[in-house]
């Protein structure tokens, strides 16, 4: 084995009982070996990772970075900073920018901004619009978008009602080797309601969206995927009814994949009590029964990946009566903490989280990722599963402070993110001896 130029020692690897050392060279993984105290890694930068869990860099398949057009909510720089603080080395950003990402020039603008803002930082992979302007009338120039760097296509929060057009979008995208991501919502049923239809919505006098509004479109997409034998990816599944449809489809071999988000695993419609606009999200937070169904679906592989649906909004936009507030939760920085809470409860294990937030999404969308196999990119997260932290506006790098976690204490925190063997984010005492260039890019704010 070649000599490492970076060694991170005394780490915990999920499902490995003994401590390990991670050895890297020239930005790639050399190997993972059992930790032997006193081992000297000559000429290598050595980082003591005692007490930290080693995870591969995460991939978020569903984020909104708002640039171009709504930079007051988030811009690519702040979005990537939030991604790094959340442990994400790959970020797929949605097409609902302003203007919409439906031309190569917009895609190129995004990737250029990311490269300029943070060379060597989290990688940005745009998702192209499925239809021009997200209007659901005509296909976007998907080949042009793919060539410019888009890795998938989606109409984001404006689901395509026209089944024939959606079918053609799936076919056209698949010709290009890319898949369609669909926000499943029957658009005529309480669009934008922002809360689940049920007892809480009835009592609060808020229009609710029933879970069948999601499940109806899940069923349509599954039927199309079955008929066409073309894969479709279902975004942020939120309810048991959808899970049951996906489970049956997968059992029949239908090429469907799905994601859900950490907030759907923790919060229910009760979070909206008091007209809490921070809990207004699309699809809405559902019931405890839905939460349990989603967790089981993740464990059993019915839902393939976790994604954040990071949707930052400015504080003043959420500080309105519930009906006037935009939907969305800022999620990049709380994602891993919220996911690891489930390991404490025995509902998921750390290996599940690695699968759901790293290997599966990266494979699904053909992105670089690290399985700690020699030659993999040295993208890794040092995670402290015991560190408690209070979610405050000051603790978040994202411009979007809109999370129902605000004011709550979470356990488990990303301490560092390395991409290509370089530290792109460090926190507190975990900071490695960074180069001057890396220091300039390092966000070491402690909170």
């Amino acid at each position: 084995m070649a000599l490492p130029d970076l060694a991170v020692t005394n780490l915990i690897l999920p499902e490995t009982p003994h401590a390990v050392d991670l050895l890297c060279r020239k930005g790639h993984v050399l190997g993972v070996s059992p930790h032997a105290p006193g081992t000297a890694y000559e000429n290598a930068r050595v980082i003591d990772g005692r007490g930290l869990t080693l995870l591969p860099g995460l991939t978020d398949a569903h984020a909104h970075l708002r640039e171009p057009g709504q930079e007051w909510k988030e811009d690519i720089a702040s979005g990537l900073a939030a991604a790094a603080a959340g442990g994400f080395s790959n970020v797929m950003c949605m097409a609902n920018t302003s203007p919409v990402n439906d031309t190569a020039s917009i895609t190129e603008h995004m990737t250029k901004r990311a490269a300029e803002t943070w060379p060597g930082g989290p990688r940005l992979f745009p998702i192209g619009a499925l239809t021009r302007g997200l209007l659901g009338k005509e296909l976007a120039p998907m080949a042009e978008l793919a060539q410019a760097g888009c890795v998938a296509f989606s109409n984001d929060g404006r689901p395509v009602a026209d089944a024939e057009l959606f079918r053609h979008a799936m076919e056209y995208a698949w010709d290009l080797g890319l898949r369609v991501i669909d926000h499943c919502e029957e658009p005529t049923m309480s669009p934008g309601a922002g809360m689940n239809e049920g007892r809480v919505s009835s009592r609060l006098g808020l229009p609710g969206q029933p879970d069948v509004a999601e499940a109806i479109q899940v069923a349509r997409d599954v039927l199309l995927a079955d008929y066409l034998r073309i894969p479709v990816h279902l975004a942020h599944v939120s309810c048991r009814r959808s899970v049951e449809i996906i489970e049956r489809a997968k059992a029949r071999g239908v090429p469907v994949t799905a994601e859900t988000c950490p907030h759907y695993l923790h919060f229910t419609e009760a979070e909206v009590e008091g007209y809490n606009t921070l809990a207004k999200v699309s699809p809405p937070l559902r019931t405890r029964d839905d939460v349990l169904a989603l967790i089981q679906a993740l464990r059993e592989g019915v839902i393939d990946i976790l994604a954040t649906d990071h949707a930052p909004h400015a504080a003043h936009e959420k500080e309105t009566p519930f009906g006037e507030a935009p939907c969305g939760i800022s999620g990049l920085e709380t994602a891993l903490s919220l996911s690891f809470v489930l390991t404490d409860k025995g509902m998921l294990d750390a290996a599940d989280i690695v699968r759901l937030f790293s290997s599966n999404p990266a494979r699904l969308f053909k992105l670089p990722h690290n399985t700690f196999t020699p030659g993999d990119p040295a993208d890794f997260v040092l995670f402290d599963p015991r560190q408690a932290w209070k979610v405050t506006p000051e603790s978040l790098f994202s411009k979007g402070k809109n999370t129902p976690c605000l004011g709550r204490t979470l356990t488990g925190r990303v301490m560092a993110l390395y991409i290509g063997g370089q530290p792109v984010f460090t926190r507190g005492e975990c900071a490695p001896a960074a180069t001057a260039a890396a220091s300039r890019r390092t966000h070491g704010r402690s909170s």
Partner: protein, 312 residues
Amino acid sequence: MSWPHKDLLDVSQLSRDDVAVVMKTAASFREINARPVKKVPTLKGRSVVLFFAEPSTRTKTSFDMAGKRLSADTFALTKSGSSLVKGESLKDTVLTLLAMNPDAIVIRHGESGAAAFVAERVSCAVINAGDGRHAHPTQALLDAFTLLEKWGTLADKTVCILGDIAHSRVARSNVILLSMLGANVRLCGPRTLLPPSVDGWGVEVHSDLKKAVAGAHAVMCLRLQLERQQAGLLPDLREYAGRFCLSSATLTGADPDVKVLHPGPINRGIEISSELADAGQSLILDQVASGVAVRMALLHLFITRKDRGDKE
């Protein structure tokens, strides 16, 4: 007389004792409304902002009259006459109003939760005059006051609320208050106008008018917003009237002394027959009169609370 509340957001925040205080205070103010000179200096020098971001005739006039009869200075603000139409946020509008140091803000708004939103941000009293589909506590209190004037008690009385329950803040507040005061509450309307999960409300639910009014001591009709037909909730108003219009004929199974209420404005011949609306058993105008007295009581209780040193 202790009054522990800064704001009135819904009747659910009130105890039975609180409601009794409102009723007793309203009864004492009702007499003022019958005088030749209908004015007392109780709230002289106090300011009340009537912030109606949604159209209103009865409630706004009722609050205005209530304030003026207590000698408060009332200032009316509508959405079209405010900077809301220039894009100002509700937060900034109410903070601007607060800077003028009013003693109370009475708010009507189309969004559920808007009154609570305002109350969290201002130090003066906020009285909810109707927020979206959520609550209309002063209407529920005046309805209860009207019925108590007739009956003395609501215990063992059956009240049927009829019409568009799903979209009605009046229904939501009345279900809570009438139930609290001991009435047996029934709801009646087509399934499309009943709220989802209404089974959790702890009341009888009917879609058959005759069954709903059988033995009822009072029937409260709700206004049917005509756009419900366009929203696909009803085939047409004629069919709705055929099934749910309250009339002497459809009331035959009710208690012989049944009372009829309606918060207004009335669509005659759709929700209630014209003849029944004007009949002796109709309390519709009593409700309007009660409204002034109840709102006088509420303005008095909320605005003078600090003078008495009442604690929340």
